[in-house]
Amino acid sequence: MASSKKPVKAAKPAKSKPKVAASRPAKPARRAVAPDIAQADPTLFDPLTPGEIADALRTLTEDRRLSSMAKVGRYRVICTEPLVVKPPHWMAGHRLVRVVVYDYAADRAVEACVDLDAGVVAHLELTRGQPMLSRDEEALAVSIAMVDDRVRAKLTFGDVPQSTLHYWGRTTEDLAYARRSAAVVFGRPDGHASVVAIVDLLENTVTQVVPAEMW
């Protein structure tokens, strides 16, 4: 995890979830904690199923520590991926999900480890770090840049959005130094870049328009 030099702590779920025994009878194999890394279960690394992703996100948003985030609803799920811890950690052998969310209302990143076997958020970290952009944020940045007059004035015939990158400023004079931002690169589909537009995702505005050769 991004800055997780802290012990992983189990947390109580928002609601009582007696689902470990009741609704998941088909997981006994994962309960056998391997004694050492040579016996690690490779299936724990498998991609998450849609149901596992949904389960992890439900568990996270029901956690009372995130109730304000869930209530306001201005957050974006950045990523969900399997997480595997090594023996002898007590969660070794559990099906774990790492969830990264960006909470726009609080302007902070939420990083959580959800234990699907226990139905709890096992670890939660709230930071000012900037995780990568979600696909939704990339699409939003493009749509904001496309309708900006300063951007449109610099585009030439045939220019299209080539890519959207996660950008941060080098100095405090750059608005993107501390604010969640994207760089949208425009150019010909098969050619060089022509224009770079920086989009502030907190205010949904274009903050810089720079010819690509001047970037």
């Binding site: 890394i37 995780p131 950008y167």
Partner: protein, 268 residues
């Protein structure tokens, strides 16, 4: 396609991640564990302005940027191919003017090549790529590791976490860093590409400390993996290594960055 490959004395698993390219995990050589997992968490890019006059050089005006290498930037399928003396995985990624081919090559003599071929024009010529690899080697078990660097004509034990750039000094095989299992003497040696301007971060392993989903820490804080470096002891513990290359774009592109990794002490 199966994600378990047993070939060339290696057995390993792989999967495509959301942001860290192809991840290799639970890799064994001659039936003994070498790697818990390894991936390419990010490739950042920063830009310089083109000027020959030092007085007029504004330095790096803009900050870096990056785009995840993963499911959203994958071009075509992940390929598994045998070659003479080994097997390799490769995948192409593209994000606008940035193009990459990630490679994992496994040789039957214990060599492992985590490489990245970089091409594409970029937004202009004056830019530098910084691919970051993360290796969690678990030689014959997770604990009881030691980390050493070649310095002053000999291998020297490193006691605590830190940043260890390539100084130009290497052993007779070109190796600069190595991780050793103290119990069995098995080792992985790391030889940088001579043009990588490489550095290694050696960090004590912590549960759940998988690669972050961004090099970007809070404003004003160090980026990852620098932000991980503290003063924790390494000797006898579980060590994680980050290999970072710094590759300036020039006319000789494409360029393949990444180290040679050689496993020793596990063979028959």
């Amino acid at each position: 396609m199966s994600n378990v490959i047993s070939e060339a004395n290696w057995k390993f698993h792989w999967r495509l991640t959301e942001s860290a390219g192809i991840m290799i995990y639970l890799a064994d050589y001659h039936g003994r564990r070498v790697l818990w997992e390894a991936s390419l968490p990010y490739v950042t890019i920063d830009h310089q302005r083109e000027t020959l006059d030092v007085k007029d050089d504004p330095g790096e005006v803009h900050g870096p940027w990056w785009v995840p290498l993963g499911t959203r930037t994958l071009q075509g399928p992940v390929r598994v191919q045998s070659f003479r003396g080994g097997v390799e995985l490769s995948a192409a990624f593209a994000a606008g003017p940035y193009h990459y081919t990630q490679l994992w090559r496994f040789h039957d003599d214990g060599r492992l090549c985590p490489w990245l071929t970089i091409y594409g024009p970029g937004v202009h010529d004056q830019h530098t790529y910084h691919p970051h690899w993360r290796f969690d080697f678990d030689l014959d078990g997770a604990r009881d590791d030691a980390f050493e660097r070649f310095e002053d004509s000999r291998w020297q034990r490193v006691g605590q976490e830190g940043w260890f750039p390539y100084s130009g000094e290497a052993d007779e095989h070109g190796n600069v860093w190595r991780q050793i299992d103290a119990g069995t003497g098995a080792a992985v040696h790391i030889r940088p590409h001579s043009w990588d301007d490489a550095e290694v971060f050696a960090i004590r392993y912590h549960d759940g400390e998988w690669a972050p989903y961004s090099p970007r820490n809070a404003a004003g804080s160090q980026t990852f993996p620098s932000a991980y470096v503290g003063d924790e002891p390494l000797d006898g513990d579980d060590v994680t290594l980050w290999y970072v290359a710094h590759v300036h774009f020039d006319q000789s592109f494409p360029y393949t960055a990444g180290p040679w990794v050689k496993v020793s002490g596990l063979g028959n």
